[in-house]
Amino acid sequence: MGLVNFLVYLSIMMGIYAILSLSLNLQYGFTGLANFGHVVFFCLGAYISTIIVLVFKMPFILGLLGGMFVAGLFGYIISIPTANLKEDYWAIATLAAAEIVRIFFLNEDWVVGGGPYQGGAFGIGGIPQPLRSLFSAHTYPFFYLAIVLVCLVATYIIINTLTQSPFGRVIKSIREGDNLPQALGKDVKRFRMKVMAIGGSFGGLAGCLWAHYHGFISPNQFLPLETFIIWAMVIVGGKANNKGAILGAVIVMIFYNSTRFLKDYIPIEAVTLASLRMVAIGILIVVAMLFMKEGLIKEKKTLY
């Protein structure tokens, strides 16, 4: 039974991270926005949803929508002052924005209302799981997996439809520089803001699903390292390919969890093994960059 439980857990994680990698892929793969702070949307979705559901006692669905809304809004807002930055500076700015939000939640524990919810560095526990009472402890993970899969499919359909539309055509042209789309009358800044908002809100969706699954969140779960795990998924899976983004999430998640089992075979301490997972992901990125620059699934040519 242990194995089944683990597989369900792994699938839920894959689903949540696939949503994250799909949303980063929209921003980086299709629009060329080197977002080094993607974890901020994950973090905002988790916190906002937790506050709505736990503190304000609202239903899960409102927490989910609220988390998506605030994360999307944040994406929209951070793309205003950064609109004129070049790619590398933009990457630094987004990295900083993500850290600002994380440190905010680390220090401002009043945002969760104080009282029974500790917040701050202690994190917030006891986040309710949706429709928990209808299932046994045994069957609930399967139900949650279903919720995650429904969200993943919806995310895939929405992002895939967008990238194949005339909207997708414009963002692909932005990827290779502003000059051409500008000369063709496209408001490049606005398109970028929209992409940040959409990508941000789906990042928020993933955060919300994550918070309500684990039942506990704390600021140190949203370190910049998370962003790079999502980047690894996009790079390995294939940038500008939505199926690739999902495949990348699956593979990286397998690598990420593989060291769990190594302890049975290799005489290394568990703590060291945990650190080795980042080494494994690092190697994965290097191998992908060297031998398959376009990732496992290449960008699909749009034919008419």
Partner: protein, 261 residues
């Protein structure tokens, strides 16, 4: 149609444009020539809003265009191509053309989900236009090729086709025939003439090929060191001493320019 008045622009110590004034009549084809570094491309970049001018005014259809972003100028109906072709490598030739038309319904996020049928119809109409233009620039056989795989000359043709798709009132063409083979240049000359005749478009082009200039331009403006040194019909320009001097340091004649191109 277009009025450029006393435009100045300097980059550090280099005075790229030093008080340039001229106007472009509606439905005309005007050539902009001058030696390398004379300020032609800078002028294009200023008209299309990519550079800010230091001084001077630019009027388009009687309205001053000042301090507005390039995409707004494009929306007013000024279409431009670039000297070094701007071609998104990972988009097919056809996608490049479909990208061009302004304000498409399907560019709105919500429209993508709310009006899929309208978008489909719009796309079909655009495809028809695109095929026509592809025939014109002779890239039809390459329509599903990535634009990045095209040759330099083909990229020029694609840029021209793409700007035609966007249906501008005024076309600013930066060396449209550079790297294009002579027979195709002939077709392009005919195409540009047709455009003017059928669609009433106005064209301002930078060109080094004097044959093209003499054949299609009503008027020619000559720049040298950021200043307009001559303006007139191609015939007048050919006889202008100042122009010959600027181009060839006075050592030769117009015919040599012909040979050169």
């Amino acid at each position: 149609m277009l009025k450029v008045e006393n435009v100045h622009k300097s980059f550090g110590g280099i005075l790229a444009l030093n008080g340039v004034t001229f106007s472009v009549e509606p439905n005309s084809i005007t050539g902009l020539i001058g030696p390398n570094g004379s300020g032609k491309s800078t002028l294009f970049n200023i008209i299309s809003g990519f550079y800010n001018k230091d001084r001077g005014e630019i009027y388009f259809k009687g309205k001053k265009i000042e301090g507005i972003e390039p995409y707004r100028i494009a929306m007013l109906g000024v279409g431009r191509t670039f000297q070094i072709s701007e071609v998104p490598e990972k988009m097919t030739v056809l996608e490049n053309l479909l990208l061009a038309p302004k304000s498409q319904i399907g560019e709105g996020i919500f429209n993508v989900f709310l009006h899929p049928l309208k978008i489909k119809r719009e796309n079909e109409k655009l495809l028809k236009d695109a095929y026509e233009i592809l025939e014109l620039v002779q890239l039809y056989h390459l329509r599903n090729e990535y634009a990045g795989n095209l040759s330099g000359g083909q990229k020029k043709l694609l840029s021209l086709g793409r700007i035609l798709m966007s249906d501008p009132i005024l076309l600013l063409l930066d060396e449209p025939t550079a790297g294009v083979n002579p027979t195709l240049i002939r077709d392009l000359i005919i195409a540009m003439k047709n455009l003017r005749a059928e669609k009433g478009q106005t064209i301002l082009l930078v060109e080094h090929n004097m044959k093209v200039i003499s054949e299609i331009c009503d008027r020619v403006i000559v720049l040298d060191f950021g200043k307009k040194i001559a303006e007139g019909t191609p015939e007048e320009i050919q006889k202008n001493e100042k122009v010959l001097e600027a181009y060839l340091s006075g050592s030769s004649k117009w015919e040599l320019l012909h040979e050169d191109s």
